[in-house]
């Protein structure tokens, strides 16, 4: 792997490899000494243009437990408003010798630009780009799903396996969700069946081309309209969306699409409840669901560290790729270089 920009960058075998390495990483985290020497002398920059404490500390913990040097760079604004441009920030980090740049940005595609515009030679990890993707979140969700649904919650028991045949319901604001996009791509790659549930206003035009099913009716889906669900993942819904008429009111949204006590009771015994956080308790998920024994929400957070350790390890430690070779990302190289040298003589 050179970069991790999209969940689509990973083929089935590569995705399974990341999950397997993450199991090994998780095992090391049970030891008294959690720190590994693997990335000693390497520099990982957390470049966050958007506030996200939980994702940043997850990456920070992952890099530090691999003994990498970590630089946290929190930038505000974009090149159109005040502040330094993405390009100049990247050039600065390049001059500091970043081996990997973990980037969170409000603009879809910003990590692609970092990886392909020639501004930096380091590996780029997409830590969430606007409403586009969040591939490490999808990996940690897949890791959690695999442990529970395939490995019987025994650490390492599912090594080598994918998610073939598992049914995952993802409900909520799909339109604005980078988590949903990455999960649909990755879970499909791993053989799972995904059903997206949302009001029509919160599904993107064009969703019918995604490798998943869609429904407007959460009750029907939980009752098994697409088969018995093995996992239900609730997406965060911002209350402010009602101001843009995506739904009439938070109460109506909650009634039609929230995982309330009644719907929690409809779930088969083995079905797990997931949420990428941060939660809006009482809106998309009830306290009963969030705190139930089915809930993997807290576990997802600790799995996030193991998965991010695996990603950084695979990106930076000697390119130990599977036989399929390095990941080739879809971006094309930017061509602005020549243009910037243009003669502006009058």
């Amino acid at each position: 792997m050179r970069h991790l920009l999209s969940a689509a960058d990973l083929g089935r075998d590569q995705a399974v490899q990341v999950l397997d390495v993450a199991e090994q990483m998780a095992a090391t985290q049970q030891r008294e000494i959690k720190k590994l020497p693997t990335l000693r002398g390497r520099t990982v920059v957390n470049l966050f243009f958007e506030d996200s404490t939980r994702t940043r500390i997850s990456f920070e913990a992952a890099a530090k437990r691999l003994s990498a040097d970590v630089i946290n760079f929190t930038a505000r604004g974009s090149s159109v408003s005040k502040g330094e441009s993405l390009k100049d920030t990247a050039l600065t980090l390049e001059a500091m010798g970043a081996d990997a740049v973990v980037v969170r940005h409000h603009a879809p595609g910003a990590p692609h630009r970092l990886a392909t515009a020639g501004w930096t030679r380091g590996s780029v990890v997409n830590a969430g780009d606007g409403t586009h993707e969040h591939p490490t979140q999808a990996l940690l969700d897949a890791f959690t799903l695999r442990r529970h649904l395939v490995g019987g919650t025994v650490p390492g028991a599912a090594t080598g396996a994918d998610l073939a045949g598992q049914r995952v319901v993802i409900a909520g604001d799909v339109l604005h969700s980078r988590v949903a996009r990455s999960n649909v791509l990755l879970l499909h790659t791993l053989g799972a069946h995904v059903v997206l549930v949302a009001p029509p206003t919160l599904l993107p035009v064009g969703v019918e081309a995604w490798p998943c099913a869609t429904s407007y009716d959460l009750d029907a889906v939980l009752e098994g309209a697409f088969g018995e669900p093995d996992a239900v993942m609730m997406l965060r819904v911002q209350r402010e969306r009602q101001n843009a008429a995506f739904f009439p009111s938070a109460r109506e949204y909650s009634r039609r699409y929230g995982l309330d006590v009644r719907r929690l009771g409809m779930l088969p015994r083995h079905t797990i409840v997931m949420h990428p956080g941060p939660m809006n308790r009482g809106l998309e998920i009830s306290a009963a669901a969030a705190d139930s024994a089915r809930s993997t929400i807290v576990e997802q957070v600790s799995n996030g560290v193991a998965v991010r350790m695996a990603v950084l390890y695979l990106l930076l430690s000697g390119r130990k790729d599977p036989a399929t070779g390095p990941v080739v990302t879809g971006g094309r190289t930017g061509g602005a270089d020549g243009a910037t040298r243009k003669d502006r003589r009058r």
């Binding site: 603009a107 409403t131 996009r181 019918e208 602005a336 243009a339 040298r341």
Partner: protein
């Protein structure tokens, strides 16, 4: 096989504006040998005193500049209805002079300078300023477009009559970049310009449906997470406007048509006798939204690149005349406005120097248009819509000598740094395109020779009027 004799070609261009006014009065005659007007039979053309003085074979002319045009096609000088020259206000992006150079090199002899400058071209003073800068540069006839509303704000009509009566004699009015979304204001503008034979050129974009929109809304925007710009937002405004134009019997011009649905609406309106004309850009004729997957902002344009089905529809519409003209929407931006993330980037691509080549590739080499058809859509019709006298005329004795000579056999690779426009942003960067402009003549005077700006071309036309 092509080239000029008896002149030093390929030399630099005098860049200053210090050419003595008044020295353009007498232009040396030009003898163009063996050119094929509109791709037809080869002939010689003698250009003298600003007109095509004589046509025929085997001509000689003492003292004339001889251009060997064997294998070249002659077209009437191209006329662009939609150019952003950025001056006044954004001289870091383009100036009237740099844009005029790009236009001449692209085979244009007249361009319409859009009104979204700073200050906005919404008064007689600003349009006359732009017009004078164009005259001083003298490479193409710069026809200012006047804003429809004060400051492009869409609230109050600008003084359209004053702009029409000014020295710039404005006939095309547009808030381009922004849509005149208020239906009553659009109706009044369409009515008012009838008094001076004007046309309202609408940038059709329903504003509420396109807030923060980034790309065509469809399967790809769903995957990329970029805010969608639905085809319906363009089509809804066009549908409304053709109904209003029909109701008040005025001339509506639709800028940069990009969707198959828009084509259907315009076709229907024309069949009902509505006075509507329409343009399509070279980039909407060639490129699709698939380019956006690279997240490279050179492909960010407004309206956005659409689907392959839309591209096929606008090509067909240009061929059958539903879309009347090709207009470049030449939109230069400085490097920093494109060298960034997609959301932050400015929309637009340059187009003056690539337009004819793109049209050759997508229309001529596909058999959809012959060269006469190209002349119709890039010169005759735009001159008619813009009411530009002396342009878009037949290539015949006694007609104004506004001409472009193109080598259809040439192939060239688009290098953004090698173009004359100051804009660094071309969506065609790295493409290999057919056809090369060899020479351009403005009223008989060469502005481009051997594919380079003619020596002393800038400012040479100062004393001439048109």
């Amino acid at each position: 096989m092509t080239g000029t004799h008896d002149t030093s070609t390929g030399t630099g261009v005098r860049t200053g504006r210090g050419t003595t006014p008044g020295d353009g009065g007498s232009t040396r005659p030009v003898l163009v040998r063996g050119v094929r007007p509109l791709g037809g039979d080869a002939t010689d053309l003698l250009l003298a005193d600003g007109i095509v003085a004589e046509t025929g074979r085997g001509m000689t002319a003492d003292g004339a500049l001889v251009v060997d045009a064997d294998g070249l096609v002659a077209l009437p000088g191209l006329v662009d209805l939609h150019t952003h020259l950025r001056e006044p206000g954004r001289e870091d992006a383009e100036t009237v002079e740099s844009g005029s150079r790009a236009a001449a090199l692209g085979g244009f002899t007249a361009v319409h300078a859009m009104a979204n400058t700073d200050p906005v071209a919404d008064t007689a003073g600003v349009v006359e300023q732009v017009w004078r800068m164009g005259r001083r540069t003298g490479l193409v006839d710069v026809r200012p477009v006047g804003a429809v509303t004060v400051g492009l704000r869409g609230e109050q009509l600008a003084e359209l009559g004053a702009m029409a009566d000014s020295a710039a004699a404005v006939r095309v009015f547009s808030d381009d970049g922004l849509c005149v979304s208020d239906a009553v204001l659009m109706r009044r503008a369409l009515e008012y310009v009838k008094a001076f034979d004007g046309v309202v050129a609408q940038h059709s974009q329903e504003p509420r449906l396109t807030e923060a929109a980034q790309m065509h809304e469809g399967e790809l925007s769903a995957v990329l997470g970029l805010r969608g710009w639905p085809a319906a937002a363009e089509e809804a405004i066009i549908a409304r406007d053709v109904l209003i134009a029909g109701h008040v019997d005025s001339h509506l011009h639709v800028c940069h048509v990009s969707t198959a649905g828009s084509v259907e609406i315009i076709r229907w309106a024309k069949s009902r006798g509505v006075r509507v004309t329409a343009e399509v850009t070279p980039h909407h004729l060639l490129l699709t939204h698939e380019e956006v997957a690279s997240f490279d902002p050179v492909f960010k344009v407004n309206p956005p690149l659409r689907t392959p089905e839309d591209v096929a529809a606008v090509r067909e519409a240009l061929a059958d005349g539903t879309i009347d003209v090709v207009a470049t929407d030449h939109a230069p931006h400085p490097a920093e406005d494109k060298d960034c993330e997609w959301d932050a980037a400015a929309a637009g691509t340059t187009g003056l120097e690539t337009a004819l080549s793109v049209v050759q590739q997508v229309m001529v080499e596909t058999g959809l248009l012959d060269w006469a058809g190209v002349a119709e859509r890039m010169s005759v019709r735009p001159a008619g819509i813009g009411r530009v006298a002396g342009h878009g005329r037949p290539i015949a004795a006694g007609e104004p000598a506004n001409l472009v000579l193109v080598d259809p056999a040439a192939r060239w690779r688009v290098d953004p740094g090698a173009l004359a426009t100051w804009g660094c942003n071309t969506a065609f960067q790295g493409s290999t395109l057919p056809g090369r402009v060899v020479a351009t003549f403005l009223r008989g005077r060469p502005t481009v020779l051997d594919g380079e700006l003619a020596e002393d071309a800038v400012g040479a036309d100062t004393a001439r009027s048109w």
